[in-house]
Amino acid sequence: MAEPAIELVGISKSFGPVRANHDIHLKVSRGTIHGIVGENGAGKSTLMSILYGFYQADSGEIRVGGKPVVIHSPNDAIAQGIGMVHQHFMLVENFTVLENVMLGAEGGALLKRGTAAARAELKRIEREYGLEVDADAVIEELPVGLQQRVEILKALYRGADILILDEPTGVLTPSEADHLFRILGKLKEEGKTVILITHKLREIMAITDSVSVMRRGEMVATLKTSETSMPQLAELMVGRSVLLRVDKASASPGKVLLSVRGLTVKDSRGVTMVDNVSFDVRAGEIVGVAGVAGNGQSELLEAIGGIRKAIAGEIVLNGETLDEATRRDPAALRRKGLAHVPEDRHHMGLVLPFEENENAILGYQNDPKYLSGPLLDLDAIRADAREKIRKYDIRPDNCRLRTANFSGGNQQKIVLSREMEQDPDVLIVGQPTRGVDVGAIEFIHRRLVAMRDAGKAVLLVSVELDEIRSLSDRILVMFAGRIVGERGAGATEQELGLLMAGVEQREAAE
């Protein structure tokens, strides 16, 4: 075989005492799709940031096409033909596709000539790779899948031969993801090299030619995809065998604990985000809300949690119809037995610069057990925090550490332990395993099922279809603010995928 497209030789990078990458060796063959998997904090993103010039390696060498290169900045990377599609798009929202693509390569002080050349070049790339996008469409008006396509176009326009994609399917519907994979296949045919970073093992199995596994900053294995399996990869990532399926008995639902009737929520621009939504959640069941991000699930969750105002509808908690004042008061809702694990743990569920024990009481700071008179009872708070750290295996086991210093999975455990240990009747959970590593996902899923089995009502909102399907006893699908369908636990992915994409189902039986 010819020279590998990219070769990394002995790359190491430390942040203070943290060894993010240690002696990494990697060869990516030209014209292949190469997957990189690993838990959160395993060093995947650091490695790619070194390759793309955001960080400099402490030691080691990068070779592109067999020649050693020095990459000091993203511009150097682009000059070497390396392009990157970030997890969070780097697009100017109110620019057109064309303007975004030519940004940074305008070709002179006056735009006219550069624009014409860019338009022609864009047309050529679109034709060659089957990446049609309206060049004059404004980014913010495009669906997420197309925005991602613009990111890919941008990289190709700069002459990228090697394309790095960081968690590209997180924001896509299953059909959009399929489309992306077809594009990647096409790129491969045309001789481009693709590096795909993901934590979804199914995607690795579906489209990659080879796969590398990282664990704790080290490259533990590089395998041919055809010669490996999902359980093997999971085991390599975590360092022990992992249960990929959730073991649970069938549900035995009791009385209705949470009932939502005709709930309507508008966002700050006045756009209806939740449109006349009604459903019940019973004791002892997990109801999953599936949907592509941005279809109103977040707003639904926040409205139930008391954070966002609902303009119509009612919420019945534990048999009590909530009045307006209670509905807008998260503290009162907590007292009535509603616990809320928010979608965005960094900005809502936690105060990152606080010590761990301070976050372990967030929202419950008025609970008498944490107070002595007007003062905080620090001994009680810390003892309580230590108890939760032990019970939920939160690492490191230091309740005085700043919360920002915990890994994503452990931060999520801090939030979950706080909400679950209050023994609520109703638990509403948003994206419980977003950015959480495989080992912690298994733990969190088991705790959620345990809550259900203890007779709690659990409402689960997640954009991870696998998570919804493996945990839920009933599945509601949201599209454009409405619940467009309800399915049992056995619903197939295709069936849910169609509903999520807004394909109206004629439900003859109902």
């Binding site: 430390s14 942040f15 203070g16 005492p17 943290v18 993010a20 959160n40 904090g41 995947k44 993103s45 650091t46 960080y55 949690g305 008391g306 954070i307 008061d329 998260p330 503290a331 009162a332 809702l333 907590r334 809320h340 928010p342 965005d344 900005h347 809502m348 569920g349 936690l350 105060v351 990152l352 610069p353 606080f354 301070e358 009481i361 967030l362 929202g363 700071q365 008025n366 107070l371 007007p374 003062l375 905080l376 620090l378 700043r402 920002a404 210093n405 890994s407 994503g408 950015g435």
Partner: protein, 377 residues
């Protein structure tokens, strides 16, 4: 994936870094002194000796520091809640009205310590009342507190001139000031305390208000780190969305925080009005409300840090006055320039040397920002 979060060791964060900032400010000041043809070393000598070389100098330094502690605490309390109260100057001014009201009413009838209790309460109440309107406007109408508090400084100045000229001026005199307080309205000097360590305070107005400032510092520390209110305050100041999630009522918190902040600023008036002038006169705050912003920034919004920073600014004030006296070429404006440089380096450019220092100490590539300081209103 989050980058590792590396922090400087505490001694570097709270000791070395501020020291480097001050030294750089003084070096640049030295260049300016050199530029106008004076000897910077001589200037430094006059400053240090003037501020710390005698019992009287030290007492003056501490007198000024007392002012800055109060206004620094005022800024810090608001800052922990993510509010930038730059209306200290006006709140001090109104606090003076409270002090004068208590002293003028009681000074013939009660001993100083009784008058003092009323004066503390009145100064707090008047300062708080002056901060209430900006606080309320921020909470209910979203009017930015930076704009409203600075506007209220002008209103306070105009109001006080009006009152002192037309309402509470001592009849039969020509200057806009009240009558002198009798002995029952004067805070005693701390000469006895200083003589314990063999120092003579001379004519310096170093008084009991300094002790009140230290008590206030301790109480503010308790408030911020040991009470539920402080917990909610810090949550609000660090993450507004987390505060909503935690059921913290923003409007109520903003109003209460501004009352506390304004009250602390108002208490500063005890020091000059009751401890030094023994009367209320036009312009007595003399910019101390603004210096409080600098001491709060430099002291990292921590009461202990504010006390240290206030003493440093006390040295700059007292030493600066001495310097202007002994080296006439160095004008009053030059002194303000030097103070401004210290504020610039210790406050506004606080993080300038941090990345280099972090690298030097081998603490890693990622600099961590102080949580309280990165949150401006």
């Amino acid at each position: 994936m989050s980058a590792p979060y590396v922090k400087l060791p505490a001694w570097a964060d709270y000791g070395l870094l501020p020291l480097i900032n001050v030294v750089v400010a003084l070096l640049i000041s030295g260049l300016v002194v050199l530029f106008i043809g004076q000897n910077p070393l001589e200037a430094v000598q006059y400053m240090v000796e003037g501020a710390l070389g005698s019992g009287e100098g030290i007492a003056f330094t501490l007198y000024y520091a007392t002012n800055f502690i109060f206004t620094g605490l005022a800024v810090a309390v608001a800052f922990h809640g993510g509010l930038f109260n730059i209306g200290g100057e006006g709140q001090v001014y109104l606090g003076g009205l409270g002090v004068a009201a208590a002293a003028l009413t009681l000074d013939h009838y009660t001993p100083w310590y009784v008058t003092m209790l009323f004066a503390v309460a009145a100064s707090f109440a008047f300062g708080a009342a002056w901060a209430l309107i900006p606080g309320w406007l921020q909470a209910r109408r979203g009017s930015h507190i930076v704009i409203t508090t600075i506007m209220f400084n002008f209103i306070a100045a105009a109001l006080m001139v009006y009152l002192l000229v037309n309402v509470i001026k001592q009849p039969g005199t020509m200057s806009p000031q009240t009558r002198l307080f009798a002995e029952g309205g004067q805070l005693p000097k701390l000469g006895a305390l200083m003589s314990l360590v063999g120092l003579d305070i001379g004519a310096a107005p170093f008084n009991v208000a300094f002790l009140i400032a230290l008590v206030a510092s301790f109480l503010v520390w308790v408030l911020i780190w040991r009470t539920r209110f402080g917990y909610e305050l810090r949550t609000m100041g660090t993450s507004a969305t987390a505060a909503v999630y935690a059921g913290i009522r923003y409007e109520r918190m903003v109003v209460v925080t501004m009352l506390l902040s304004g009250g602390l600023a108002g208490m500063m008036a005890l020091n000059p009005v009751m401890g030094d002038l023994q009367k209320l006169q036009v312009g007595f705050p003399a910019g101390a409300g603004f210096v409080g912003i600098a001491t709060a920034l430099m002291g990292r919004s921590h009461p202990a840090g504010i006390v240290v920073a206030s003493i440093l600014f006390g040295i700059l004030y007292q030493g600066g006055a001495e310097l202007a006296f002994w080296m006439p070429d160095i004008t009053r404006e030059m002194i303000i320039l030097i103070q401004g440089l210290v504020i610039l380096f210790a406050g506004a450019l606080e993080h300038m040397f941090r990345p280099a220092l972090t690298r030097l100490l081998g603490a890693g590539g990622q600099s961590s920002k102080s949580p309280s300081m990165t949150q401006s209103a």
